[in-house]
């Protein structure tokens, strides 16, 4: 899926990050230098007194699919070079339905440590105490406008018809829910594959352990026999040569998929709760109508 991305400009004031401007990145193209484009753009914006500190980036997304390895990578690089940077995720489809969805995320310190060590074995994850829920931390977003902008908006409100922008009261749920559930199912399948992979690995490890044990037992018996014969004992270190440890499956992908499933299910519960609310609204309307007809 094609996503829109861009840079956020702003500055840090006390304990908050103010994002005051942004500009889009060009679509990926080998012919031009993206870094140069960004610098050019920032230089130009500085000329007209726009805050020129790069404080993060934004990306469009559809429900939960923003969570991915590239996002993790980019945000890692941002956060290591610019400490305060955030990634702002804008949900296009949901906003088109009438619910503005704007979320800001930052990597947790554990996630940064994990990415730095580039070690995704279950053991190191356990040591870092990191899971899919502690990959990112959500930063609350607050919208502020200058008084002059507010004046302009009250002017604008007169130019927009009152009845517009009520699309979110649409009662239809089937298509949206179907799409979301389908994506959720895909993700669950993927996670299932990963789980199977991991189980197989565990099985292999267990079997190897047993074999190793058996071999060692055999070797000790042999050595005991040799000792009675007065022969030198065979080395027991051969065990490591014979039984190479199985590669430990990387846990990064399952973690990301789990994170996606988590966001999907959150979205679905939200969607359901608001749909229920709308249904009960309709019921009230219907009841009122029936009561009137009965009178």
């Amino acid at each position: 899926m094609e996503v829109a991305q861009g840079a956020l400009l702003g500055l840090v004031v006390e304990n908050r990050l103010e994002i005051t401007n942004c500009f889009p990145f060009p679509k990926h193209d080998d012919t031009m230098d993206e870094e140069e484009y960004q610098l050019d753009m920032m230089r130009r914006l500085r000329r007209v007194n726009v805050d020129h500190f790069h404080v993060g980036w934004y990306q469009s997304a559809d429900v939960g699919n923003f969570l991915s390895l590239p996002l993790l990578e980019s945000q890692y690089h941002y956060q290591t070079s610019i400490e305060e940077s955030v990634v702002v995720i804008y949900d296009t489809k949901k906003s088109a339905r009438g619910f503005l969805t704007l979320k800001a995320y930052r990597l947790t310190p554990q996630a940064i440590a994990m990415y730095k060590e580039n070690d995704y074995t279950p053991e190191s994850l356990k040591n870092l105490k990191i899971g899919y829920e502690s990959l990112f931390i959500e930063v609350p977003i607050v919208i502020r406008n200058s008084p002059l902008t507010n004046i302009m908006m009250s002017e604008l409100s007169e130019m927009i018809p009152e009845e517009e922008g009520c699309k979110f009261l649409d009662l239809g749920t089937a298509s949206v829910l179907e799409g979301q559930l389908r994506s959720l199912m895909d993700r669950v399948d993927e996670l299932n594959q990963e789980a199977i992979k991991f189980n197989r690995y565990q099985l292999l490890v267990v079997r190897q352990q047993q074999e190793k044990h058996r071999w060692l037992l055999k070797r000790t018996q042999e050595n005991a026999a040799r000792a009675t014969k007065g022969e030198p004992p065979l080395p027991e270190e051969d065990v490591n040569k014979l039984f190479k440890p199985h590669p430990v499956p990387q846990r990064l992908n399952p973690m990301i998929v789990a994170g996606q499933i988590n966001t999907y299910s959150q979205h679905i519960s939200q969607f359901c709760s608001q749909s229920l609310a709308k249904l009960y609204l309709t019921q009230a309307l219907q009841n009122a109508k029936e009561a009137k007809q009965n009178n």
Binding site: P26, R47, L100, L102, S146, N150, I160
Partner: protein, 454 residues
């Protein structure tokens, strides 16, 4: 002829006085000619003038003003030869004022011209009325070439080829129908950017200008983006950083190849003297640029949004001027834009104070809409009660709309609705349960994975 020099002094300025007034001067000249030649009473004035090789007052004045303006046009004086930073000459102007441009106020004329373009019946009316003088005022700025015109101008059609002395005709040369029926549709994001640019202006500047971007379709200009161009305005010149504008435009093209220059914007509530110079630049960048102004100075306690097109006017074979004509401007939004705007509008707090808002959860938004709806219903109910109690004058139109509203509530049978309602609720509750179950499973999965690996 020293008397005539006195008589026609500063004729370029008063040459368009009413013919009757000029006729009086002609009478005086006639008397002098008759006295000088001691001619018999039966000799005609025209013969006298011919024999004396003396032009009539009107002819003399016409030639004088022609000479005057020709000189003015190519005067080497620095006043006329002002330069823009891009080395473009500002066309010279009449020396009546000391400003570079002579503002001419032309509403009525403009209206007439508009009518001329749009309706043929009006055109014939105008023809019948011939050279009816038109007084013009306000709103429009005419640049230089209207020296010959001042507060009175004549609307005539092009086929009159001669220029009566001291009179100017406005030609509908660049007055295409499209230009005036043009509608500018502005996306809110553009206005936000303009206001932001104004708030971030340099301490010494009072006005901010910039470029508007988007494709202009037939009859509709949809403005989707804009950027600010740094510039400085002095009394007599404008310094706009046009290189900057070009660079930003090129950079923007890399991202949005679809966006083209359609015009330019400025803050303030009027088209100023400098506007035409800037406009001239933009008319090189695109065909028929539009000019949008947003009144950030809040004159009249409103933030007026206006759009103009520049219409070329001029004397045939003479110089061309232009006039900024207001055109319709509308607000257009994409659906998500509207959603965002509605949230942003919540920052307008009570008492004009601004406040912070957070994006709402879905449920909260529905709840808010419900309370708004019930508020509106209360309002309607109160109105209906008032009408029934004859406290308010009933309005048929409102009544019809209300009836339509009541009828638009779908008429579902009670049990059919109950069925549909129950099944929907069941579905949704099921999905909620499953979603929660999945979340629990996820946590379990993670915990187990970490547990089993020693």
């Amino acid at each position: 002829m020293c008397i005539r020099t006195v008589m026609t002094y500063a004729s370029p300025v008063f040459a368009h006085a009413a013919p009757k007034a000029l006729h009086r001067l002609q009478v005086i000249q006639n008397k002098f000619c008759r006295a000088a030649t001691d001619a018999h009473w039966c000799v005609r004035n025209s013969i006298l003038h011919r024999d004396l090789e003396l032009p009539t007052i009107s002819k003399y004045m016409k030639d004088a003003s022609k000479r005057f303006f020709d000189i003015a046009g190519s005067h080497p004086n620095a006043l006329y030869a002002r330069r823009l930073t891009i080395n473009r000459r500002i066309p010279p102007t009449l020396s009546v004022g000391h400003e570079t441009y002579l503002p001419i106020h032309l509403t009525l004329l403009q209206r007439q011209l508009k009518d001329l373009m749009t309706s043929t019946t009006r055109m014939t009316d105008l023809e019948r009325e011939g050279n009816r003088p038109v007084t013009v005022s306000c709103d429009i700025l005419c640049r230089d070439d209207f020296h010959q015109a001042s507060s009175i101008a004549h609307v005539t059609r092009r086929r009159h080829s001669h220029v009566p002395s001291g009179r100017t005709r406005f030609d509908a040369v660049g007055f295409s129908e499209m230009a005036l029926n043009l509608v500018v549709k502005v996306h809110p994001v553009v206005l936000f950017q303009i206001v932001d640019a104004y708030e971030r202006r340099n301490a010494d500047s009072h006005r901010v200008i910039g470029t508007l971007l988007r494709t202009s379709d037939k009859g509709v200009v949809e403005v989707t983006n804009c950027f600010c161009v740094p510039h400085k305005e002095h009394e007599d010149q404008v310094e706009a950083e046009l290189n900057y504008a070009m660079d930003v435009y090129e950079l923007n093209r890399r991202v949005n190849a679809m966006e083209n220059i359609v015009g330019w914007w400025a803050t303030g509530n009027e088209v100023t003297n400098h506007s035409s110079v800037i406009h001239e630049y933009y008319s090189r960048e695109c065909r028929e640029p539009v000019h949008v102004t947003l009144d950030t100075s809040l004159s009249g306690n409103r933030m007026g949004l206006r759009a103009y097109v520049c219409v070329a006017l001029g004397v045939p074979r003479g110089k061309q001027g232009c006039m900024f004509t207001p055109i319709n401007v509308e607000l257009i939004t994409y659906e998500p834009e509207l959603v965002g705007l509605q949230l942003c509008q919540k920052t307008v707090g009570g008492g004009g104070r601004s406040r912070q808002v957070q994006p709402m959860l879905d449920l909260a938004q529905v709840a808010e809409a419900a309370s708004k709806l019930s508020g509106l219903l209360d309002q309607v109910l109160a109105y209906v009660e008032d009408v029934v109690a004859e406290r308010v004058q009933p309005d048929n139109e409102v009544g019809r709309q209300l009836l339509e509203l009541v009828n638009s509530v779908p008429n579902l049978a009670a049990d059919a609705f109950a069925d549909a309602f129950a099944s929907s609720v069941k579905d949704l509750l099921m999905v909620v349960t499953l979603a929660q179950l999945i979340k629990t499973q996820l946590q379990l999965n993670e915990k187990l994975t970490l547990l089993t690996s020693q």
